[in-house]
């Protein structure tokens, strides 16, 4: 189980003024459950992922993984304890191939599973394994490779940050199938997906809605979905871009 307790995060804003991006966040992510974090842009969704991974240091609050406090562990130490994070905007590398990166993510992976990790995200291994994770790949390709790394890692805590961004509908459908098969109801794994995707929200065990750095609502999809349905559908139809207004 992963537990965030009274997390506060302040960052220095672009105007030089400190800005609180997470305020008093307390969540328990239980093993064997799939959590969907949603909410308007800038609401703090990615910040929570970065706090869990150790990329952002909270000003206050504590983080526990299976009872062990990990608040002071760095990114590498948390990764080695079984936390895995697919970045929203993954970086590119020169001279590091797709195959290299997946093998770094999962050093013991065999050739069959290495290839399967790419196929699962709709990429042909023969076309991609030897290619640099560099400027020659599109944003969508980079995103899929990022997800493939998390799928390959078999981590105890898997965080996917907007997996739908840059991924075509067909691949997303396939990916959802894989998430259900691999993660859902797996008693050893906690899955956290930051998303605006209706299908992902529907398959989750719990939806957490974040807005302005605070939890506005959380609970089972049937309870939360009616509250956010209009905004999600609106976003999906691209009738509005940006902020969703919640009346919770």
């Amino acid at each position: 189980m992963l537990r965030l307790k009274n997390i506060f995060v302040t960052v220095n804003g672009s105007n030089g003024v400190d800005r609180e991006i997470l305020r008093d966040i307390s969540i328990e992510f239980k093993s064997g459950r799939l959590y969907a974090i949603t909410g308007p842009n800038g609401g703090g969704k990615t910040s929570i992922a970065k706090v869990i991974m150790g990329i952002y240091k909270p000003n206050r609050g504590e983080i526990y993984l299976n009872g062990e406090e990990i608040s002071n562990l760095n990114v590498c130490e948390r990764a080695r304890r079984g936390i895995s994070y697919a970045f929203q905007h993954p970086p590119r590398f020169k001279g590091i191939t797709v195959g290299d990166l997946i093998q770094i993510a999962s050093p013991d992976i065999d050739s069959f599973n290495l290839r399967a990790a790419l196929r699962n995200v709709g990429l042909c291994p023969e076309d991609y394994l030897e290619r640099d994770v560099g400027p020659g790949l599109s944003g969508g390709e980079i995103k899929r490779i990022e997800i493939a790394q998390v799928l390959a890692r078999n981590a105890r805590i898997s965080i996917l940050d907007e997996p739908e961004a840059g991924v075509d509908l067909w691949t997303m459908q396939k990916l959802i199938g894989i998430i259900v098969e691999k993660y859902k109801n797996n008693p050893d794994i906690t899955t956290i997906i930051i998303t605006h995707n209706q299908r992902v929200l529907e398959i989750s065990d719990e939806i957490i809605v974040l807005e302005d750095g605070v939890i506005k609502a959380s609970g089972a999809p049937h309870k939360i979905w009616p509250l956010i349905k209009d905004d999600i559908e609106c976003k999906m139809k691209e009738q509005c871009r940006g902020e969703m207004a919640y009346e919770l």
Binding site: C76, A79, F87, G95, Q149
Partner: protein
């Protein structure tokens, strides 16, 4: 042929050799030839007027490789060698060169390799040169290669030049002349650390119509090392050329990068990109999120960058 462990260590570092290869080869140690072979298609012989060798590839030779590594293990030894490579028409070969220096003394050791490469009509050559230094002495390990290459009509050449580590001082000079429909690609990878200095001066003259050239340089400067990189493309006719210089700077190092484009014809299309910067924080974080320590992440990024 009498190779000791140190010889093999250096040969392996600069040319991946674990034994004397079966094909055409010339291994030079401390100014003396210690292994030489020719094949039916590739002749390796000494120059008559000065130290060095002539490698001649018969026209039409395909898929053969010649190894010509140099090693220096004698303290304070300064070696100068003049090599000429003539790649016969319509042949397709690889040349594995390179120089490794071991210097444990307080006096400088150095190698100056002065190379002339002539790629005849329709021929293709891949020339790989790795430079490496080792040893605990205060004496410098100095490598100054100078290469002049001519790519004749429809010929194609790829020069891959790597300075792996341990070279204290280097001045590399590369000049190329490209004739009609000829093509040249220069890939340079350079690592400097400590107080080392490296200077690379590349000039390519595209003289023939439809000629093309690419310079792809990547370097990493650590410690208080300095690097100066000049890459000049001169398009004298309808041609295509591109220069890309990309450097990672660390600690207190200094890098000066100067790409230069000279078009002497309105049909010359020449472009350049140059970037110097430290390792991006997001790259480090990404690799650490996969379980690498910060040190491992840095090494992985640098190793990939210089690959």
């Amino acid at each position: 042929m009498n190779f000791n462990q140190l010889d093999m260590q250096l040969l392996n570092a600069v040319s991946d050799l674990r034994a004397v290869p079966a094909g055409p080869v010339n291994i030079r140690r401390n100014g003396e030839v210690i292994a030489r072979n020719s094949s039916s298609n590739i002749t390796v012989r000494s120059k008559e007027d000065k130290p060095g060798l002539v490698v001649e590839v018969k026209p039409g030779t395909a898929n053969e490789t010649v190894h010509v590594p140099v090693i220096l293990t004698k303290a304070g030894f300064k070696d100068v060698v003049y090599n000429t490579f003539v790649i016969g028409e319509n042949s397709d070969v690889s040349i594995i060169a390179g120089c490794g220096i071991h210097n444990d003394s307080h006096v400088d050791s150095g190698h100056e390799g002065i190379h002339e490469i002539i790629v005849k009509k329709g021929a293709r050559v891949r020339y790989i040169e790795k430079h490496y230094g080792q040893g605990e002495g205060t004496g410098k390990r100095i490598l100054n290669p100078s290469t002049v290459i001519t790519v004749e009509n429809g010929g194609s050449a790829e020069l891959e030049m790597y300075q792996i580590k341990g070279v204290d001082d280097t001045f590399r000079s590369t000049t190329a002349y490209i004739q009609e429909a000829g093509n040249l690609k220069i890939v340079e990878r350079l690592l400097t650390h400590g107080r080392q200095s490296a200077e690379s001066d590349i000039k390519i003259y595209i003289e023939g119509k439809g000629g093309s050239a690419q310079i792809l340089s990547r370097s990493v400067a650590k410690g208080t090392s300095t690097q100066i990189f000049r890459a000049s493309l001169v398009g004298k006719t309808r041609c295509i050329g591109h220069v890309e210089c990309d450097s990672i700077i660390m600690e207190d190092a200094r890098i000066k990068s100067t790409p230069e484009l000279v078009a002497e014809d309105s049909e010359a299309v020449l472009t350049h990109e140059a970037a110097i910067g430290k390792i991006a924080g997001e790259q480090l974080i990404k690799l650490m999120s996969l379980g690498l320590t910060e040190r491992e992440a840095i090494d992985t990024i640098l190793e990939g960058f210089l690959r």
